[in-house]
Amino acid sequence: MADVAVVRVPRREVPAKVKDGVRWAVALGGAAVIFGAFVLAKGVNPFEAFSSMFTALGTQTSLTGIALQASPLILAGLAVAVPAKAGLVNVGGEGQLILGGVCAYGTSLALGGSLPGGVTLVVICLAGALGGAAWSGLAGVLRLKVGINEAVTTLLLNYIALDLMLFLIYDKWKDPNGSGQPVTAPLRVAERLPLVGTTGVHAGIFVAIAATGLVWWALRSTRWGFQLRVVGGNPEAARRAGLKVGLLLISAMAVGGALAGLGGVTQLAGAEFKLRPGFLVSYGYIAFLASWLARHHPVRVATAAVLLAAIAVSGDSLQLDSGLPAATVNVLMALVLLAVFGWTQHKKAAA
């Protein structure tokens, strides 16, 4: 075989860009058609469903809703992207978001208003980030020391985190003036995140944008970011080159968890002010999808997070106008993801 020279004559083809564009259109169009078929099966006109989803997006309330949802989604998405650069799969966004909220709230309780509001806000942000980092770091350590896959442990830790939060809000932290509802007392007003101008959007969106820039810079221009990418690309080569692979992997997990933890704090201190049973439910999973949708590039992850936030918000109007359950949009999100997974592989095979 080695003696035979195989000459491949390149065929004249449609320009790659046009082909890519067509594939995207077909893939996303296909996702929309399948979603429409499911909606139709529930007896709702798919065209009306889509148009109500689109028209609702332009309103002031929807834009505010998207910005509010985007803050924790962006941060939790980055929490997936950073470990992914080192080849790790962090599916623990749910748990890390919750731990962020829980640690922040617990710290605020412990301080009991003894510090000025602004200082407390900074302290609880740190506490939340630490909580998230501890939760994901635990999965990182188990991966290194015991060899259990981090995707499995982060998933299981999500359920433990949820039960921990429920335990606290049904028991120790239950608001005595909350008319028996399982919620905590609200955070002191001075410890809350300020609103942006006259809008209903809190400053958490700036935290998310700043974090996106910082992660982008750290992955691109720092030694740590470079080493992470080497480990993610070829861990064996990284070890031979003398990199501290273990430390790098754990730091990637911990930084990810810290970002998600911060996302939990912004939701607590900016939007909800108290912990309740449904606190940030399914945000961690949607953020995971956002990161995979964007192939873990920080700026694109943030963009994808905003996009998925928009789908989620338009899903609320679907619920109001068509009476479909809010979780219906999960179908649309999953179909879009599958379309993208199928499409990107085509691109790779062609290259």
């Binding site: 080192a86 442990t153 299981l156 921990l164 861990p235 979780a327 999960n330 649309l332």
Partner: protein, 305 residues
């Protein structure tokens, strides 16, 4: 009933759905494919079984529907992973999301709607044995089927030609293809068959264990099944042991509360998950080394130490 026998009875009752899903996942993982969408297959299986049992008044028709639905969703995972080479772990979660969305879309009308469920059937003779009779021989029919499934799976995976081909698909793909077998076809079969069993596990959950359908009712049991398969190293009897361990931890909470222990329910709810993580830690290192080659590629994107 004593606390011990109550917990052990609950272990079998609550562990059976995980046993089905875990056995299914053992087939998929033996062929080198991890399916985190097992959670999704259980969900669609649970709803399909409940819906069909409710419409036809026949729990067996429901179980069949659960089987088909679970297999169909696993087929989506198989297509994107095997044909489109999508990342197994990420795609599994996307498939779960699809299942979650579809079941909330189509399940809303079945919440709090009655359905004809399986009822426990006491085995004549064996069922009247002291202790053992209650623990093992007073269950729904799907539980008895699972008792037979465990040794059957052991025989299939370790002693049959089919099992050899399956393990070769996970371990020595080049041998398999040089003997003229299609690796991809075997993997397809394994993943879809695994999804069918997960769907049956979901059916056991909705029409035998809970006698109800509610949104996201699987609550991580599919992920637990995947974890159990890891520490059981895909051996059916160990998968059964791990599943019953989770079931026992589940049964501990109501058993203690019924005896007036004033422990917070949510602290107890965390016990099953904590147990599984602890067992993973204790048995983890030894098991990881025994994984098939094909799985190592998935699980060890970057090696330890």
């Amino acid at each position: 009933m004593s606390l011990v026998s109550e917990v052990l009875t609950g272990a079998v009752r609550g562990g059976t759905s995980i046993l089905y899903a875990g056995t299914g996942e053992s087939f998929a993982e033996s062929a080198g494919v991890v399916n985190l969408g097992t959670e999704g297959s259980m969900l669609v299986g649970a709803l399909a079984a409940y819906a069909v049992a409710s419409e036809t008044n026949n729990p067996w028709a429901g179980a069949l529907a659960g089987l088909v639905a679970g297999g169909a969703l696993a087929g989506v995972h198989a297509y994107f992973v095997l044909q489109r080479k999508a990342n197994q772990l990420a795609n599994g979660l996307v498939v779960l999301f699809l299942g979650l969305g579809l079941t909330s879309l189509f399940g809303a009308s079945y919440v709090s709607k009655p359905a004809r469920s399986f009822t426990p059937w006491r085995v004549p003779g064996l069922g009247s044995l002291p202790a053992v009779g209650d623990i093992l021989f007073n269950h729904d029919p799907l539980t008895y089927v699972s008792f037979l499934m465990v040794p059957a799976t052991w025989w299939l995976l370790t002693r049959s030609r089919w099992g050899l081909l399956l393990r070769a698909a996970g371990e020595r793909t080049e041998v398999l293809s040089s003997y003229g077998h299609s690796v991809q076809r075997i993997q397809y079969l394994a993943v879809v068959f695994g999804g069918m069993l997960a769907g049956l596990g979901g059916a056991q959950l909705s029409i035998a264990y809970a006698n109800a359908w509610f949104e996201n009712m699987v609550q991580g049991r599919g992920f637990v099944a995947v974890a159990v398969v890891i520490f059981a190293a895909r051996q059916p009897f160990k998968v059964a042991a791990g599943s019953y361990l989770f079931g026992a931890a589940l049964a501990l909470s109501p058993a203690l509360q019924a005896r007036g222990y004033g422990i917070n329910q949510f602290a107890l709810d965390a016990i099953p998950y904590v147990t599984i993580v602890v067992v993973l830690v204790v048995l983890g290192r030894r098991r990881a080394a025994e994984a098939p080659e094909g799985l190592k590629k998935v699980f060890e994107v970057s090696p330890s130490t």
